[in-house]
């Protein structure tokens, strides 16, 4: 069996499908991250708001994507936005607990040393706290990225599923090769992005090199 068969032209090309898949998956991770960092820092600063925030995120995370997609259609139409919004919320749910744990896990003596060296407020946050919290943040990013890349395909139910369109075509044309190709492309994209994130983490945390090996 040909692993990368000619795909029916109305579905687009491999290039356009890859582009759509990554646009939807990665922009939702990015939006999730942009909201997650300040939200997590608020939770670290005001520990009382953390339990209700986590409870809310757990509920959001448990809502099936297919239901959220179709409920959003009347507001945002059959567009990529409709797919991006729920996935951004899932990313948020994966990221916030990781960032909170990461920042809380910074040893007190490290923080005191930073203060003693004159780091205060925002500067300490950016140059000491967040870099030290990179490993757990990256763990959250990896979960969100891999999950989103795979979940984008459900968007084909509302006509915007990138590689998910191959599954629709496979079901309609009774062609298993299209389904296999779709699965392989999605898993490959997910694992490549995952690998890139692992490499980024290594580059961002050179001090961890020896320990992590």
């Amino acid at each position: 069996m040909n692993l990368f068969p000619h795909i029916p032209s109305y579905l687009g090309t491999y290039g356009s499908l890859i582009q759509q898949q990554l646009t939807m998956a990665l922009s939702s991770v990015l939006f999730g991250l942009i909201v997650a960092v300040p939200l997590a820092l608020l939770c670290v600063r005001y520990p009382r708001i953390y339990p209700p925030v986590v409870a809310t995120l757990t509920v959001i995370y448990s809502l099936p994507s297919i239901a959220l997609f179709v409920l959003l259609v009347p507001s945002t139409g059959l567009t990529q936005t409709t797919v991006i919004i729920p996935l951004a919320f899932y990313s948020l749910a994966a990221l916030v607990p990781n960032i909170v744990d990461g920042v809380r896990g910074i040893p007190e003596d490290v923080r005191l040393a930073a203060v003693a060296m004159g780091y205060t407020g925002a500067r300490r946050l950016v140059s000491v706290d967040l870099p030290l919290a990179v490993p757990p943040i990256m763990a959250g990013l990896r979960v969100a990225t891999v999950g989103n890349i795979s979940m984008v395909s459900v968007g084909t139910v509302i006509g915007v599923g990138a590689f998910g369109a191959l599954f629709t075509a496979a079901a309609q044309l009774n062609r298993s090769d299209l389904a296999v190709t779709g699965i392989i492309c999605i898993v490959a994209l997910a694992l490549i992005c995952d690998l890139l994130l692992v490499i980024t983490q290594r580059l961002l945390t050179p001090w961890n090199q020896r320990r992590s090996r």
């Binding site: 179709v70 409920l71 979940m151 496979a170 694992l191």
Partner: protein, 226 residues
């Protein structure tokens, strides 16, 4: 188009509550698929998680497996299996189980592996046999994490059962797919709301389960950290 009034109209139509495609039947189907997927997943993953956690071996395999499973598109698997073997129970259960195994395996492994060694030493010192150490010390101490794993598995099962409707399987996803096919938006939105209700009921069930199964000594810590 008002989503909520359409959905409400559909949900309050008496005829939608009867028969083989009525709401109670679909709800029960959804429940059956999900429960079965979690139970089969547990049969495979729980013993493996206990084994790897207790022996503290195989961590890399467990974590890589979880990562690959996260990348697998359920919709694609269901469609593929339906094209290859037809609309059979296996075609929906294999993808669902593939998604319930990793969270149970990963959390059981992590939970048992990270039990305070002083606790297991104390249990051994009191004369417990290896099996008893596992059942009476490690498993209860790891219970919060184990239940989190089961909860993730159940969340996956409920969400992906909804997706399985795409290939002519039952469950609540049926309403979304059929509603879209017949442009009956009330049915689509009503079905989506029922799926949301099912997902929330699932979380409530696990909140109760945590109260029942987690030993009283760990409950206060659990509440403080939650």
């Amino acid at each position: 188009m008002n989503v909520l009034s359409d959905a409400w109209g559909w949900l309050t139509t008496a005829s939608n509550w009867h028969g083989s495609d009525g709401i109670p039947t679909r709800f029960l189907e959804h429940f059956e698929y999900s429960v079965e997927a979690v139970l089969i997943g547990a049969l495979i993953a729980f013993p493996l998680g206990l084994l790897t956690g207790h022996t503290k071996r195989g961590g890399l395999v467990v974590t890589s497996l979880a990562n690959i499973a996260r990348a697998l598109p359920t919709l694609g698997l269901v469609v593929l299996l339906v094209v290859v073997i037809g609309v059979k129970f296996r075609a929906v259960m294999i993808p669902l189980v593939a998604l319930t195994v990793p969270p149970i395996l990963l959390n059981t492994y992590e939970g048992v592996r990270n039990v305070d060694p002083r606790l297991t030493d104390a249990a051994q010192g009191m004369g417990l046999r290896p099996w008893q150490v596992l059942w009476r010390a490690e498993v209860p101490a790891a219970m919060p994490l184990i239940l989190t794993g089961f909860q993730f598995a159940a969340v996956n099962a409920v969400a992906n059962t909804a997706i399985a409707a795409y290939s002519s399987f039952g469950g609540l996803g049926r309403y979304i797919i059929d509603g879209l096919a017949t442009t009956d938006y009330g049915m689509v939105a009503g079905g989506a709301i029922l799926i949301v209700v099912a997902a929330i009921l699932n979380l409530v069930f696990f909140a109760v389960l945590r109260r029942v199964l987690i030993s009283p000594g760990l409950q206060s810590r659990e509440r403080a950290s939650a």
